[in-house]
């Protein structure tokens, strides 16, 4: 029953939503909006469980004084303070919650994002080697596109931005479309497998067992 009921609900809802896609009647649309509403409610409740999970993990580390327990203490204090100020003072602009967001979280997120610049340079240096024909092709295309996307490329030759644009417009797009078609078919196949109960890993079982 523990497995049969979720499988039945999955199959029923999956087939129902497929049928719903083809029915434009207002009752069908109302049903769709209701299901979306339920989904949002379930997701919201799951957040509560998520917070409990992170609190438990870090509390265990602190209470047992495991390795790097200090970072867990910082995490717990940050979580508690943010929750408290959010509930106590509200989340409008100018309130402590938004100040924490704007002056601590936003700069930290921007800093993490900026790491990409450094990592791209180190990754490119480490891995862009002309070992094979395909790797050489990738290398040449990457160099042309990199130059084409900055003013210095135009200064070297006005043809570079044009070739860069051609690479992005034609071969890049063709490859992307091929992958997207494959991904689309794979998604449909995966969806069908889940609805028909062939794929049951999401239940906590492995491979239809």
């Amino acid at each position: 029953m523990k497995r049969e009921l979720p499988l039945f609900i999955c199959a029923l809802m999956g087939i129902t939503m497929i049928i719903q896609y083809f029915i434009p009647h207002p009752y069908s649309i109302k049903f769709y909006q209701t299901v979306i509403g339920w989904f949002i409610i379930i997701m919201t409740f799951a957040f509560v469980l998520g917070i409990m999970s992170i609190a438990r993990v870090h509390w265990n580390k602190v209470s047992r004084k495991q390795k790097d327990w200090f970072y867990s203490l910082v995490a717990l204090i940050s979580l508690s303070v943010t929750l408290f100020v959010g509930f106590a003072f509200g989340i409008e602009r100018g309130k402590p919650f938004m100040l924490i967001f704007e002056y601590i979280q936003v700069p930290m997120e921007s800093t993490m994002f900026s790491l990409l610049a450094f990592y791209i340079a180190s990754a490119a240096f480490r891995t862009f080697r002309a070992r094979t024909f395909e790797a050489t092709l990738l290398l040449i295309a990457a160099v042309i596109v990199m130059l084409g996307r900055v003013p210095i490329g135009y200064m070297i030759s006005s043809k570079i931005p044009a070739i860069s644009g051609w690479i992005l417009d034609i071969p890049n797009l063709a490859a992307k479309r091929g992958i997207m078609i494959g991904v689309g078919l794979g998604s449909i196949s995966m969806g069908l497998k889940i609805i028909l109960g062939v794929e049951r890993s999401w239940l906590g079982t492995i491979g239809g067992e």
């Binding site: 497929i18 896609y21 083809f22 029915i23 434009p24 009647h25 207002p26 069908s28 649309i29 997701m43 799951a46 957040f47 469980l49 998520g50 917070i51 999970s53 992170i54 438990r56 993990v57 265990n60 979280q105 930290m108 997120e109 993490m112 790491l115 990409l116 990592y119 791209i120 180190s122 990754a123 490119a124 480490r126 891995t127 862009f128 992307k176 992958i179 997207m180 078609i181 494959g182 991904v183 078919l185 794979g186 998604s187 449909i188 196949s189 995966m190 969806g191 069908l192 497998k193 062939v198 794929e199 890993s201 999401w202 239940l203 906590g204 079982t205 492995i206 491979g207 239809g208 067992e209």
Partner: protein, 391 residues
């Protein structure tokens, strides 16, 4: 003689005067049909009319520039709904206008007037009325239904073939063959394995594929008694993964080795999550990193940090924009649908392999259709492409 000239003069004045004081207006459309649009929720009507004969008039006072559509409900006043310029919205020589945002079951009355370049409105009009009806089937999506039926048919055919014991060949995928190698390496080194199932939600197919692979990885990890770390971006995904990993440990015969701390939630903020995972990588120094699922801009930060710690890295994503970063920074990458195929590949389950075959044949069919489409488009036969427009 004087009399004759007077008569001629009067005749000329009358002729010119009548031309100047003309009461002529452009001709309205000859015919109009107002009907339910069909394939909708009962909020649209289709107004179709023939062109006015004065569209090609040489007289600018009469030459029709646009059509004015007026509408009223029973007991109401006529209001202007839209003006459609000559040549716009034509199909097979007739004008089509779809009026939307109407009320189901209410009768609407339409009048279409011709308006000339000099803003002279036709005295006459083409009139009609109808009632919008909610439909039970969207005919405009028939092509999608045919595609789904065709694909499901192929799916079931190969499924039954596989069930009947026919062996189906699937080409080796390097990334999946390396899973055992990665787990073995981690066990030998006594270091943990890090598994990330992407930054998307459980309704994303790539996340489900990642969870499937996690189940198999977790089972092998449990058999080798290696430490597993699974930090999560989404709390619902965390809940599902806890069940999957718990079951995997149970089936491997090591239920006591499972703890809820193996699979935990971090945050649903992109770069906060990345910072936390990077911290785990630098502190725990896992021997193997698995990046499966959907990723955004953080993919290179994760992969490059992992590479710096010396871990063997296997990635798999259908996020086309992030593939180049994973291919550059990881040892193995599953591209697009290879991620979805992983479940079939790792299990070697004939039923799962059968579904892969169905996908491949569908791809072949799509390639053939595209070829036909290219040829027909080259010769201007656009009807073929219109068969595949999804609405």
């Amino acid at each position: 003689m004087r009399l004759i000239w007077s008569l001629v003069f009067i005749l000329m004045v009358l002729t010119v005067g009548s031309a100047l004081c003309t009461d002529e207006t452009p001709s309205p459309p000859a015919t109009i049909v107002v009907s339910d649009k069909g394939s909708d929720d009962g909020s649209k009507l289709r107004v179709e009319w023939s062109p006015s004969p004065d569209e090609k008039s040489t007289n600018p006072v009469l030459r029709v520039e646009r059509y004015r559509i007026m509408r009223r409900e029973i007991g109401g006043q006529f209001e202007e709904v839209e003006e459609v310029f000559v040549g716009e919205g034509m199909e097979k020589g007739r004008y089509i206008y779809i009026d939307s945002n109407l009320q189901l079951g209410k009768r609407y009355i339409y009048r279409v007037y011709s308006v000339s370049e000099k803003d002279v409105v036709s005295k006459g009009y083409a009139g009609g009325s109808s009632v919008p009806v909610a439909n039970l089937f969207n005919v405009e999506r028939l092509n999608v239904l045919i595609f789904i039926v065709a694909f499901a048919g192929l799916f079931i055919y190969f499924y039954r073939r596989a069930k009947g014991g026919v062996e189906l060949y699937v080409r080796p995928i390097a990334g999946l063959s390396a899973v055992d190698e990665a787990i073995g390496r981690a066990t030998e080194m006594g270091k943990p394995i890090l598994y990330i199932s992407g930054l998307s939600t459980v309704d994303d197919i790539s996340t489900i594929a990642a969870i499937t692979i996690l189940g198999r990885v977790a089972r092998r990890v449990a058999e080798h008694e290696t430490k597993l770390i699974v930090p999560n971006y989404d709390p619902v995904v965390m809940l599902v993964e806890q069940e999957v990993v718990k079951q995997a440990y149970l089936e491997a015969g090591h239920p006591d080795a499972y703890s809820d701390d193996i699979v935990f939630y971090i945050t649903t903020r992109q770069f906060s999550y990345v910072a936390a995972v990077d911290g785990i990588m630098v502190r725990e120094k896992p021997a193997a990193n698995f990046f499966m699922g959907y990723y955004f801009a953080e993919s290179l930060i994760l992969a490059e940090t992992g590479a710096a710690t010396g871990a063997i890295q296997i990635a798999g994503t259908d996020a086309v924009t992030q593939l180049p970063f994973f291919i550059t920074a990881c040892d193995y990458t599953l591209i697009g649908e290879e991620l979805y195929a992983a479940s079939a590949y790792l299990s070697k389950d004939p039923l799962q392999l059968g579904t892969l075959k169905a996908q491949d044949y569908m791809k072949l069919a799509i390639a053939v259709i595209m070829g036909i489409g290219i040829i027909t488009a080259t010769f201007g036969l656009n009807w073929f492409q219109r068969l595949f427009v999804a609405r």
